[in-house]
């Protein structure tokens, strides 16, 4: 059994990976323990506001690489530890049975060599599936430069895999993570996407049912939000990723090449909001901002877009097409759906929207209800009102929707 000391060390090294989602897989219990819930389930929340869904742990924190932002890098002066595949399996089962977790997120530092590390990780997940007969969620991290055959073997047992790009440009990657190259990260991602497609075509199914994700660190390197979001868009469109996570940089090591200060929570929050717009609201990164711009701090990215496109507004709530309704600031997926449903039965007035719990403080400037307008007339007043609301929200330590990880919000994505 793993002891508390090693558990702490191996958790500490894994915790800066923000992805903890357990969604996207509907794996069934095929005799044994566990299954996966497609919507994902949060089991606890830590004081940093994040959800615990998976046992997020490293197989080893003893790294031969030198990524400068990382606590586990080879020349870092920290206690080192490793766990065996069996210990990981046993702990996963014990936690799962008590309903502490949805499953396992297994990652590792590059211990001895990429192949040795990947091999041991694959052994752990295979053991968990075949010997421990565990059918809960497994997220397996890919090790750059590992043998593609090993990576494919791991993909057979995992629900999701991820390679973390971490730095949004090749230049920063070279500077801060010298042993990793863009190719060592993008190539296996592309291969896994192809492997998944093959599996689906040959009806083998179940190859990474929850797809692939990646993480970008925000604020460790100088790239603006525009660069980051354009990269995210190409990862969704061209590499076929399910999800890009943004992790506000936390300085855990002191290094002349890295900023002394953490990235603000607000910046991370705005990136997630913009990411929602890309994935669910039909926006493109280009519509939101150019590669060299940053997202506005004062209000959310949808407001910012609407203010730049005032000629499209106001729209009539009883008639405007679904795509445009989704673009109204303050109307989220759920709100838009309700409006579309309800307007088939009755002409909706302002009061009706209130009763339907549509939040009107932003939306009212951009819509008419049965021909009537309830917002401010001048664009400058609208802007001021949105800035005030944005400020109130920020003061509230961001809205509750700022974290990427609750299952309900990840389904609806209010904006």
């Amino acid at each position: 059994m793993i002891d508390a000391d090693r558990l702490k060390i191996l958790t500490n090294g894994a915790k800066y990976d923000v992805s903890c989602s357990s969604s996207g897989s509907g794996r069934r219990n095929a005799g044994g323990l566990g299954n996966a819930a497609p919507a994902g389930i949060c089991h606890s929340f830590t004081p940093d506001g994040r959800c615990i869904s998976l046992l997020k742990i490293l197989l080893s924190n003893d790294c031969i690489y030198h990524c400068r932002y990382c606590v586990n890098r080879a020349d870092s002066d920290i206690p080192r530890a490793s766990a065996t595949a069996e210990e990981i399996c046993e702990l996963t089962i014990a936690f799962y049975k008590r309903n502490y977790i949805e499953g396992l997120f297994l990652s590792s530092a590059v211990h001895v060599s990429p192949d040795r590390t990947m091999e041991e990780m694959v052994r752990a997940v295979k053991l968990l599936r075949t010997v421990y007969r565990f059918h809960g969620y497994i997220h397996l991290k890919g090790i750059p430069h590992a043998d593609p055959a090993l990576v494919r073997e791991g993909a057979k047992y995992a629900d999701r895999m991820s390679y973390n790009i971490e730095l949004p440009s090749e230049k920063s990657l070279k500077l801060l993570a010298p042993q990793k190259t863009k190719q060592s990260l993008l190539l296996p991602m592309r291969e896994l996407t192809a492997f998944r497609r093959e599996g689906a075509e040959r009806k083998k199914g179940h190859i990474l049912p929850a797809g692939q994700t990646t993480q970008l660190i925000v604020g460790a390197s100088p790239e603006p939000d525009g660069k980051i979001l354009h990269l995210a868009q190409s990862l969704y469109d061209r590499v076929g990723l399910k999800r890009v996570y943004y992790s506000g940089y936390v300085p855990v090591v002191h290094d002349g090449l890295l900023p002394e200060k953490p990235a603000g929570a607000l910046r991370e929050h705005r990136l997630y909001q913009a990411d929602w717009l890309l994935r669910f609201y039909g926006f493109t990164a280009d519509e939101l901002l150019s590669e060299s711009e940053n997202l506005a701090a004062e209000y959310d990215p949808k407001c910012a877009w609407a203010l730049k496109n005032m000629h499209l507004f106001p729209v009539e709530i009883n008639r405007c097409p679904a795509e445009l309704l989704l673009r109204v600031p303050g109307i989220g997926m759920r709100g838009a759906k309700r409006i579309l449903e309800a307007r088939r039965y009755a002409v909706l007035r302002y009061e009706d929207l209130l009763r339907m719990r549509i939040v009107m403080k932003r939306a009212k400037h951009f819509i008419t209800c049965d021909g009537k307008f309830f917002g401010a007339e001048k664009p400058a007043r609208i802007r001021r009102s949105l800035v005030l609301q944005g400020a109130a929200e920020n003061a509230e330590q961001l809205s509750l929707f700022s974290s990427p990880e609750t299952a309900l919000t990840s389904l609806t994505g209010e904006l």
């Binding site: 044994g32 323990l33 929570a265």
Partner: protein, 241 residues
Amino acid sequence: MHFYLFDGTAQGFYTAAFLAYADEQAFLACENTQIGLNDMTMPVTNDKDKAERVLKKLREYDRAAEAEIDAVLRSHFSDRAQRAFLYLRLLVRRRGPVRRMHAEPAVEGALDAVRKVRGETHNMTGFLRFTETAGGVMYAPCSPDNDIIEYLFPHFKARFGAQPFVIHDLRREKACLYNGKDAALLPLGKTELVLSDDEETFKNLWRDYYAAVNIPERRRLRQMRGYMPVRYWKFLPEKQP
């Protein structure tokens, strides 16, 4: 107002709905509800036949509504029976589904309760905690706002396979029991537990994990409490001092 007080069962509810259908002053409630001086109480005696007739109509007009009404009746709102009734009556009067008529107060009143119940059910699939007893049964005590352990049960049954388990609602003093094959819903008050030898060890490892996975540089306590309300904490080992 005319109070139709029923016994809290589904049959009681549907019987009351039958009797109250044409009464515009009707208010449906469970038996122990307080009523005012000017209110009238209407007797409701469970009647299988009347209840069946309402249910038949309901199923004919909207196949999904029976489950919604069941959820409304499990909600924590004190006017839950009335919410369920108004929804039911609108549906029968319109002879078809009404759940998309969001501008109707009767619809919003009921569906709001459905959302609360289903929302808590979803949350509890995460927050429920099992302890392992010496006999190998996994035991989970809880005290949900809404009456939902029957909704939680299938989720855990699918997960646990042949593993026996108990979900115990301490507030309503009842429990779902599963022995690996058959299930039962029983009244259950306080219980004594003998824990398995490993229980403390794993509980402590979990607490260590919880402490280690937090990033102390980021403090978002409000967010934590928003997602995981304090009233659930007493059953979470990671939140025990």
